[in-house]
């Protein structure tokens, strides 16, 4: 047995995570002294923390630093994802305050929880050891379970939290078992070493233990990113969770799941590419198709967006299946634009909703476009982007993902993806049709637009349109952040 050497500690690598954790803990303390009506200020403090973290991350772009004896790395790939997490966290926080006030569960703990979840995601993106990835994932998941059930007095939120918890823990079991088998087959948990062990000893698809490990880990990750057939929890959790948290959950954790998934498969197990790409092929097709077809007949808009987010995970899997530079860059670009469009759409849903979420049926949007022309147009922009219609960012992202698939020779996958995307247009359009076509049934009370909301929507609109019209810079960044 080898002795334990104290690993070289390189705090600079995890500085952003440390800062964010410290801010979160400080907020927990401050929270005790803040009156219930003023909890919103905690939100602004946490945004300040996020901005600080962002400022620390940006100078690190372009360099690749390892730390903690190779269990964690800060490279472009990680930084790109971290920026996505931080942006989505900040945008979700912007829309949280008013929502909590309306729902009457104004507790300040939500902000530290969001920050902890973000730290977890950041660890997942940086982790180069199965252990770090697992820990990041758990920090994220445990926070998310609470966030999903945050509205304690609302039975739907309770149910969402509990369901998420049970299925999340269940999927963690699979992920861990996969990690254990991979460890058994290669004798290490470090991603780089797994790859070099496989390369040196010529372990390949004939090694059943490794293949089983790969499949079980993929299952675990598929749960986390809500890929069919492991998506059953998604609609319930998204529908029941507080809407700002749904927005948060549908973007950040999904991106984090993909980040870790990509690192494990692309860096640790490139030797098994034929196996995992055929596995992902099936997952991608199933995910897109199930997501889109089920979304077609949803009445509840949150649920519809939940299925749509499943479908989007499917498109991302298309790029993933390709496994080449274009596909991976596509994943990065798509996740970035998805953050903006999805959170933007959820922001509008919060505005339209009433206390107790009675107002979340598609038919409640009747006449919305006339009542509030500017909000209506913003919503249309988000929906168009989700549908992948130019010139929104969603189109460029999809274009790039499918290009990757075609380049890798997965023509049929691209065809199926495109047909799915055509079907998806229908349910997004349906919302727009209600907005502009139907007369409003009655006057509805909606949350007053606060500066925070306006800011969030503004960021979202800019984030959808600018990468859509001038994607050059963003594509370049994504290409530089690719793992190979």
């Amino acid at each position: 047995m080898d002795t334990i050497a104290i690993p070289a500690i390189n705090l600079a690598v995890i500085a952003p995570e440390v800062v964010l954790s410290v801010v979160a803990m400080a907020l927990l303390l401050i929270n005790v002294f803040v009156k219930s009506e003023q909890k919103g200020y905690l939100g602004y403090l946490s945004i300040a923390g996020i901005l600080g973290t962002l400022l620390m991350l940006i100078p690190a772009w372009g360099s690749s630093v390892e730390g903690f004896s190779g269990t964690i790395i800060q490279d472009n790939f990680a930084i790109f994802f971290k920026v996505i997490f931080l942006i989505s966290a900040a945008m979700s926080i912007l829309i949280t305050d008013k929502y909590l006030e309306r729902e009457g569960c104004n507790q300040g703990e939500i902000y530290p929880l969001i920050l902890f979840a973000t730290v977890g995601m950041m660890l997942m993106a940086s982790g180069t050891d199965l252990m770090t990835i697992f820990l990041g994932l758990e920090v994220l998941s445990v926070s998310l379970y609470v966030l999903a059930g945050f509205n304690r007095n609302n039975i739907k939120s309770n149910e969402a939290g509990l369901k998420y918890f049970l299925l999340g823990a269940f999927s963690t079991g699979f992920l861990l078992y996969g990690m254990a088998l991979t460890y058994g087959a290669t004798g290490t948990t470090k991603i780089a070493k797994i790859a070099s062990y496989i390369a040196m000893n010529g372990v390949s698809s004939s090694n059943l233990m490794l293949v089983a490990g790969m499949i079980l880990m993929s299952t675990g990750f598929a749960f986390k990113v809500a890929a069919a057939p492991f998506h059953m929890w998604t609609p319930d959790v998204y529908e029941g969770a507080p809407t700002p948290m749904t927005a948060f959950m549908s973007v950040g954790p999904k991106a984090a799941g993909f980040a870790a998934f990509a690192r494990v498969l692309l860096v640790a197990l490139p030797a098994l590419k034929p196996e995992w790409s055929s596995l992902l092929w099936v997952l991608a097709v199933l995910t897109m198709t199930v997501g889109n077809i089920t979304a077609l007949y949803q009445q509840n808009i949150k649920r519809m967006l939940a299925y749509s987010s499943i479908a989007h995970a499917g498109y991302i899997l298309v790029g993933f299946t390709a496994g080449n530079a274009v596909g991976t860059a596509g994943i990065l670009f798509y996740m970035l634009s998805y953050a903006f469009m999805n959170i933007g759409a959820f922001a509008i849903i919060i505005l339209v909703g009433k206390k107790g979420e009675e107002n979340s049926n598609v038919s409640d949007y009747a006449g919305f476009g006339y009542r509030h022309p500017v909000l209506g147009i913003a919503f249309c922009i988000f929906l168009f982007s989700l549908a992948g219609i130019p010139p929104a960012a969603g189109f460029i992202g999809k274009f790039y993902l499918f290009s990757g698939a075609i380049q890798a020779g997965y023509i049929w996958l691209a065809v199926i993806g495109v047909l799915n995307s055509a079907a998806s247009v229908y349910y997004y359009l349906r919302v727009m049709v209600f907005m502009y076509f139907k007369e409003p049934t009655e006057d509805f009370e909606w949350v007053k637009l606060t500066p925070a909301f306006v800011l969030c929507l503004l960021i979202a609109v800019i984030g959808v349109l600018v990468p859509g019209v001038l994607p050059g810079l963003f594509l370049e960044l994504a290409q530089k952040a690719v793992l190979m």
């Binding site: 006339y370 022309p373 147009i377 168009f384 219609i389 130019p390 010139p391 189109f395 274009f399 790039y400 499918f402 290009s403 075609i406 380049q407 023509i411 691209a414 065809v415 495109v418 047909l419 995307s421 055509a422 247009v425 229908y426 359009l429 727009m432 049709v433 502009y436 076509f437 001038l470 994607p471 050059g472 594509l475 370049e476 290409q479």
Partner: protein, 495 residues
């Protein structure tokens, strides 16, 4: 590149106008006037492009293009903002500007709710269609191709009647599926060309020489053809068209028939044939058969229609069948005829839809059996009706005759039997048109109708179209002159 970026102006003026209308949400009268002004300005701009033809040759531009603009856009992907205008584009651009103005005028009174949104959509669509006719970069082309879809969907959906939801969705899904497959084919060409030459580009002139293996070329061409055939519409894919027309508001029908159908034909001329000459030749017999089937079948069905709008819609399918035939045989004469026929069809069918819309506004019926004896009551309207109906039937001296004649003359050498069959397609429209005119205009009045004759606005619409019809019918030489160079270049002859 010339000093004033006319093409960019052409592309974005309507879009800017659409944004302007956003601000005029509540002021409907104002919105109408602003939209019309933008439309007219666009028409003037389009016509001014006519006088740029002497520019030739333009530096860097592909042969035959007298207006050309090229700027880098998304360099990471080799996508450029490349737009250019040759003779074919010129005619279609002018047609687009004109038909849009007419669509605006036809909906002047009939659209009473959400007026500014209506005009906004018309302008946005104009921008999209202009983009399709001007783009020389496949990616750009696809963007505009999609852009023109959405406003049309909303036009049918919001202001349509009858089964408008069904029709709008059907229209949308048909065209979207076609165009998405085309997108995949575009990506495929891009990648194949990139791997062959090392330069990844979507530019048409860069891609033109790409060699495909015959199977790949066939698949890629099939994807393009599918997208274009849906828009065309070529017969088995035409079923969305009558529904969309029947339920669309007049302006929607006018744009749909006048412009949207042309984009499919244009795409085939500009991209389909030049990019895949070999595959196109392989599929030519199929296209010819489908075109001729379309001509005869559509005329046959048109004969049985009771709804005037549906009748005109089916006659459209027939006319576009001629265009398809002209393109399929790909001889200089037939191709000029096809382009000319596109313009003709744009003018004539627009007029017919406008007329049906006017009748509908007056009596709220489009059924043939509800009318009769219009001649005595509304002579002016009846006169225009007869004129345009005869033009549509291909009466010599009017525009459609010229186009059809050229197509038939050009295709006879290549495809005898098809041409002879298509000739039947020239006669059939006469039958249903004469029946239409007889029943609506001349027959005894079947039920008392109170009608007023045309207003000044309506007269100006119809007169403008009638002038176009007569001009092309009697003196098509200038237009053919414009088409000569681009058609010769496309078909591989010397200009």
């Amino acid at each position: 590149m010339n000093q004033i970026p006319i093409l960019t102006l052409l592309l974005f003026l309507p879009l800017v106008g659409a944004l302007l209308l956003l601000a005029l949400e509540r002021r409907e009268g104002m919105a109408r006037v602003v939209a019309l002004c933008i439309g007219l300005l666009e028409t003037v701009l389009a016509c001014s492009a006519w006088f740029c033809q002497c520019n030739l040759p333009v530096a860097n531009a592909p042969k035959g293009f007298f207006l050309f603009e090229d700027l880098p856009w998304i360099e990471a992907l080799g996508i450029r903002y490349t737009i250019g205008m040759d003779g074919i584009s010129l005619l279609l651009v002018i047609l687009t500007a004109l038909v849009t103005v007419i669509a605006m005028l036809t909906s002047w009174r009939s659209i009473t709710e959400r007026v500014s949104l209506h005009y906004l959509l018309l302008l946005a669509m104009e921008s999209g269609i202009m983009g399709v006719f001007l783009s020389l970069d496949l990616f750009l082309f696809y963007l505009f191709w999609e852009l023109m879809l959405i406003p049309m969907f909303f036009l049918i959906f919001i202001w349509g009647h009858g089964r408008n939801i069904y029709s709008a969705v059907k229209f949308f899904l048909y065209t979207l599926i076609g165009s998405l497959l085309m997108l995949l084919a575009i990506i495929g060409i891009y990648l194949i060309h990139g791997s062959q030459s090392g330069i990844y580009s979507f530019g048409l002139s860069a891609i033109l020489g790409t060699q495909f293996t015959s199977a790949t070329g066939l698949w890629l061409y099939a994807a393009f053809l599918l997208a274009f055939a849906v828009k065309f519409p070529i017969v088995p894919l035409h079923t969305w068209l009558p529904d969309a027309h029947t339920d669309a508001p007049t302006a929607g029908s006018v744009i749909l028939a006048g412009l949207l159908l042309k984009t499919g034909a244009y795409g085939l001329i500009r991209f389909g044939y030049p990019l895949f000459p070999e595959a196109a030749r392989t599929l030519t017999p199929l296209l010819i058969v489908l075109a001729v089937t379309g001509i005869i079948y559509a005329s046959w069905i048109a004969f049985a229609q009771k709804d005037m709008k549906r009748l005109v819609a089916y006659s459209s399918v027939g006319h576009m069948g001629f265009v398809a035939l002209g393109i399929a045989v790909w001889t200089p004469v037939a191709l000029s005829g096809a382009v000319l026929q596109m313009v003709n069809h744009g003018l004539t069918t627009t007029a017919l839809f406008a007329l049906v819309g006017m009748l509908d506004e007056r009596t709220h019926s489009r059924q043939i059996e509800d009318y009769g004896g219009l001649w005595g009551k509304v002579p002016l309207l009846s006169a225009f009706f007869v004129l345009f109906a005869m033009a549509s039937a291909g009466l010599p001296g009017l525009n459609n005759f010229v186009g059809e004649f050229l197509i038939l003359a050009g295709s006879f050498k290549v495809a005898h039997i098809a041409t002879i069959l298509a000739f039947i397609g020239v006669i059939l429209p006469l039958v249903y048109t004469v029946r239409l005119i007889q029943e609506v205009i001349f027959q005894e009045e079947r039920r008392p109708l109170t009608l007023s004759d045309l207003t000044l606005r309506e007269i100006s619409i119809l007169a403008a179209l009638a002038i176009g019809d007569l001009y092309i019918g009697l003196h098509p030489a200038p237009l053919l002159e414009i088409l000569k160079t681009p058609v010769a270049l496309l078909t591989g002859g010397s200009p």
